[in-house]
């Protein structure tokens, strides 16, 4: 308990000091996670909406696979991306291994199924309500998809937040493909793991606190945005 309180105090003073290394780690973490969430949203939402709207052979299988992939083990994804990007891999020539781009790539693979599966459920529920009205107005499949994604935007925010939660807390995949290189690919989660192994609990706890505060701030902002949107547009 004493260790915890002293680590906590040290963490607070570290945060208060505005440590440049800490700021760099926080900035890279946000860059990687938000970048991955943005790309995964661009892929996952249309994918989920298309799965909800279009009837095609094997649709149920796709739904089951999407749902199952929500639980992808990060270390396995990290390993696969590592193999793809390593010098011997098919994309080795790009030289992306141990770069933030590789970390974003791995996180996108992890998040796309989460955003797609949750989006599918939200859009499918909305489609039950909108189906006849949109068809009556003459909306084609693509326009229906765009309309449902727009009208479901407040609920879909939850899917994006779930993706962000996964990305910001993830350590296994980014550790493998990023390598936790100081000033290059070190993010909060990999840094916490490293600091703990070094016994630097103050730094680890400081980073942990920042991670939680950031997560709370982003989720809180999204919640307020959703509430205000729903109040305005019911």
């Amino acid at each position: 308990m004493n260790d915890f309180s002293s680590a906590f105090t040290a963490a607070l003073s570290l945060l208060a000091s505005g440590d440049a290394d800490l700021a760099e780690i926080i900035a890279l973490s946000l860059q990687v996670s938000l970048g991955a969430v943005f790309i995964a949203t661009c892929i996952g939402m249309p994918l989920g909406a298309a799965t909800a709207l279009y009837k095609f052979p094997g649709r149920r299988t796709v739904v089951v696979i999407l749902n199952a992939l929500m639980g992808l083990p990060p270390v396995v994804v990290g390993l696969i991306v590592y193999l793809l990007l390593s010098r011997m891999g098919p994309f080795g020539v790009l030289g992306l291994l141990f770069t933030p781009t590789a970390m974003v790539f791995a996180q996108v693979i992890l998040i796309v199924p989460i955003i797609a599966a949750l989006s599918r459920q939200i859009v499918e529920d909305l489609w039950r309500e909108y189906d006849e009205q949109l068809r009556s107005l003459g909306a084609g499949p693509l326009r229906c998809m765009a309309t449902l994604l727009w009208d479901g935007r407040f609920s879909l925010l939850t899917a994006v937040l779930a993706g962000f939660g996964r990305a910001s807390a993830e350590v296994g995949a980014v550790m493998i493909v990023g390598g936790n290189i100081d000033h290059v690919t070190r993010v909060m989660t990999t840094s916490i793991a490293l600091e703990v192994s070094k016994g630097n609990l103050a730094m680890a706890l400081g980073l942990g606190m920042v991670l939680i505060v950031l997560s709370l701030a982003i989720n809180g902002s999204a919640f307020l945005l959703k509430e205000s949107g729903l109040r305005k547009h019911a």
Partner: protein, 252 residues
């Protein structure tokens, strides 16, 4: 050739139309010809198949058998020249004006023309003051007016109305009926369902009476209300319950 004639899709002929769902035949061999002109009210008790018939005519459902033929000059693209208002219309999560604009954008109208048309529709339906309000927070009566404005905006030749005033109070019902009247006077063919006899008397030029999926009578409104030919139509007008499968339970 006038625009009206170019866009004319009527008459609409339905022949031996049947519809099945869940192993039950819900529409049974309905045959009728909707000509241009009068307002048709499809009358009947709950479960008669009125709404299903509208959805079949509008193309939202596919019949199990039978034919639906649009025979007018613009019959090659009938979907473009018809619209429907539902008993519970879906309001898109945007403003009142944007809801109308959305319907117009689907018809490929350019932005400037849409703006003018939206304003005209808002004015015609008395919704101008609510133009920038979110559509979903309107009262049910206002939402139904907006649904009519949205449907009217695309200048349909035929407008299907599925019990548009069900669960509205008398004042709101009259307001909706005024809009329906204005749409009719603007040249749109009205085909609507109701189980409200008073409303049918006020609106109908022609009445189709349905019961248990069958079209039992089609007559001019005056003749229908004065001398209904079908026994069940007569019972319906007199407010008797239609328990025709169990005649012994019929109220005397």
């Amino acid at each position: 050739m006038s625009e009206a004639l170019q866009n004319e899709i009527l008459p609409l002929e339905i022949e031996e139309l049947t519809f099945e769902a869940g192993g039950k035949r819900l529409i049974k061999e309905v045959t009728h010809k909707f000509r241009a002109g009068p307002r048709t009210v499809i009358l009947g008790p709950n479960g008669a198949g009125k709404s299903l018939l509208l959805r079949l005519c509008h193309g939202l459902l596919k019949p199990a058998s039978g034919k639906i033929r649009w025979c007018g000059a613009a019959a090659d693209d009938p979907a473009r020249h018809q619209a429907m208002v539902f008993q519970r219309p879906v309001m898109l999560r945007r403003t009142v004006a944007a809801n109308i604009d959305y319907a117009l954008s689907l018809r490929g109208m350019d932005r400037d023309a849409r703006k003018v048309r939206v304003e005209k529709m808002l004015e015609s339906t008395g919704l101008s003051r609510l133009a920038n309000s979110p559509a979903r927070v309107l009262s049910f009566g206002e939402q139904q007016k907006l649904a009519l404005a949205r449907a009217w905006a695309v200048k349909p030749r035929v407008l299907f109305l599925d019990e548009p005033t069900a669960s509205l109070d008398p004042a709101a019902t009259h307001a909706i009926e005024d809009v329906i009247d204005a749409i009719h006077k603007a040249g749109t063919r009205i085909i609507m369902t109701t189980h409200d006899l008073g409303q049918a008397r006020r609106i109908a030029d022609e009445v189709l009476f349905m019961h248990r999926g069958r079209l039992l009578e089609s007559s001019p409104a005056d003749a229908f209300f004065e001398r209904p030919e079908d026994e069940q139509a007569r019972a319906f007008i007199h407010g008797e319950l239609l328990w025709w499968d169990q005649p012994e339970t019929r109220l005397q």
